[in-house]
Symmetry: C2
Subunit: 344 residues, 2 copies
């Protein structure tokens, strides 16, 4: 079959790889019908050292079950399923707590010996715990929004949940990428009253407004903090969702949050330290978030996608075939595309 392999920064190839087969009794084989490129894929695209043999890419996909191991219950050939962006048994103590990203028997797509999503098919370890069936046809118009349940919308939701967003909350979202826009939508869904989107790309912030942003702040750093404080009577917002992943962005988040408030980190951390000084100590600022356990949220969020209440799939602004994936990376890195959907 064909699959996407990254060999180093800027070097993404679609190559022939072995067809997946059931290796463990808990495996399933899924033929991928939709996949996509994640903002987090751009970090290695920009900086990964050359790797012999490369690294399989993609951690977001929908597909059709083609085969299952003998210990897999509840899934059968022909089922349409969505995969969260890590695989997990969904039964261990961490999974029971909703932290499938720390599953005792789980792991990541594209790890050695494990397939990844940007390809024609995937061997899914711990299939019974990992995959969630979709009650629609393979060609449903809901595919883009359902695909966001594999990562990007669940990630936005994770940010607002860990930041304690609820009815009446004020929220700042830092970053107008797909995660930031999904965080806006997730905050709106949970009843946030004021949603300030910090971003400067008008096409994206316009979609952010449609998703629920009440204000857009294009400034960065201290100027952004000043604007956010102006918009909140000097206080800052109850919650700040950090969707960039750099230290300056975290610093802005910590300065923009209200005393007693929470900053949730969603941008994959490209830093090793954050500025948490006496000011954040005295103001009782909480820093939370992290990699989203998408699996924990899929069942809860899916009904709102199925009935059209939310349309997170609007973050996809380009659809390509699998062989065009290298250009999809380029387009996202060059900010030509917000988020690229792949139809293998």
């Amino acid at each position: 079959m064909r699959a996407t392999v990254m060999y180093g920064a800027g070097d993404v190839r679609v190559e022939n790889v072995p067809d997946p087969i059931v290796k463990e009794s808990t495996d399933a084989i899924v033929r991928v019908t939709r996949a996509c490129i994640c903002g987090s894929d751009l970090w290695p695209y920009q900086s990964m050292p050359h790797k012999d043999g490369g690294r399989r890419m993609g951690h977001e996909f929908i597909g059709v079950v083609e085969d299952v191991g003998v210990d897999v219950s509840g899934l059968a050939r022909g089922d349409l399923v969505v995969a969260p962006f890590v695989w997990a048994d969904n039964t261990c103590d961490f999974c029971a707590e909703g932290l499938q990203t720390s599953c005792r028997h789980g792991g990541g797509w594209g790890a050695p010996g494990v397939d990844a999503g940007q390809g024609e098919a995937v061997r899914v370890p711990q299939a019974q715990g990992t995959l969630v069936k979709l009650p629609v046809a393979e060609d449903s118009a809901l595919m883009p929004s359902l695909l966001t349940l594999s990562d990007v919308f669940c990630t936005g939701h994770h940010g607002v949940v860990t930041a304690g967003v609820g009815p009446g909350s004020s929220v700042t979202v830092i970053g107008d990428g797909a995660v930031g826009l999904c965080a806006v939508l997730a905050a709106k869904r949970l009843g946030a009253e004021q949603i300030i989107l910090n971003g400067r790309h008008t096409v994206r912030t316009d979609l952010g407004r449609e998703f629920g942003a009440t204000d857009v702040v294009p400034e960065r750093g201290d100027e952004a903090v000043e604007k956010i404080r102006e918009l909140t009577g000097g206080d800052g917002t109850h919650a700040v969702i950090e969707c960039v992943g750099t230290e300056p962005s975290v610093a802005t988040a910590l300065d923009a949050v209200r005393a007693g408030g929470r900053v949730s980190r969603l941008g994959v951390s490209q830093y090793t330290q954050v500025p948490m000084d006496f000011g954040t100590f005295f103001r009782n600022v909480t820093l939370t978030g992290g990699v989203a356990p998408a699996r924990a949220y899929i069942e809860e969020l899916m009904p709102d996608v199925l009935d059209g209440t939310i349309e997170p799939g609007r973050v996809f602004d380009r659809t390509i075939g699998l062989d065009e994936t290298p250009d999809g990376y380029r387009a996202m890195a060059d900010r030509e595309a917000l988020k690229v959907l792949i139809e293998p």
Copy 2:
């Protein structure tokens, strides 16, 4: 009257200062019957640059109301009261949320024009919101434990509350000072099952065991993390309460916490940054805590002190008169004394 003034590192004096009088209609005058020295007072004692005129010291006291302004309700001459370690109106939005440390009309003891606790009397701004009546006699044997409600026990409680400690939790407490020991007691009170005290002063860790510590780890840094992980099946504890205030101590806390767990900062931050790298991001570690809004907790905790369920006052191991206060600072800085109680 006499009061404690710090002029710089190591330079603490007890001096004549003006007698306090009601200046604002919301003030009360309180004659101090018990005060104490806080671990946080040791930071300026070790590093404060010389200050002409000095700085009034002390933010923990119990006393008798001697006078009240015309706008003070619910308090009368002769009432015995405890003061939390900041004053606050207890009615603004922050106070209503239990964050009296960010009160819109509050402030700190010893600020310019404001008295402080280590003296014979105090003008208490926002007295009605700040002071809490004590239903005991001035010479009650419960005085030491009731005095801990002004700061140190409420601070320990704030740590375990913000860290989400509850029945069955595993908790690490880093630091065996008075705050650390109070955090142990507060964790035990809230039902924690495993309480690991990280400290090396046997007299203190012995009291920690009496307060509820199930394990004592004397090592520091990576060795401490290794021991804590050994004691928790490799996972670390659900909560870590950081009661030192240095960057290495925060680093230990972040490494010792279980995935999905919370580190609460109680040690007054002597650092400007903390190590929050991809590991903490991937493990969904939350960093919370901060300066404790003691006022929010006094009514909740007082009954357990009054009926003897808890005895946080055991952290006091020396009692002195007001004129001996400079030596009290020295004794705490030299670790001769754990926490010093002052009887003015």
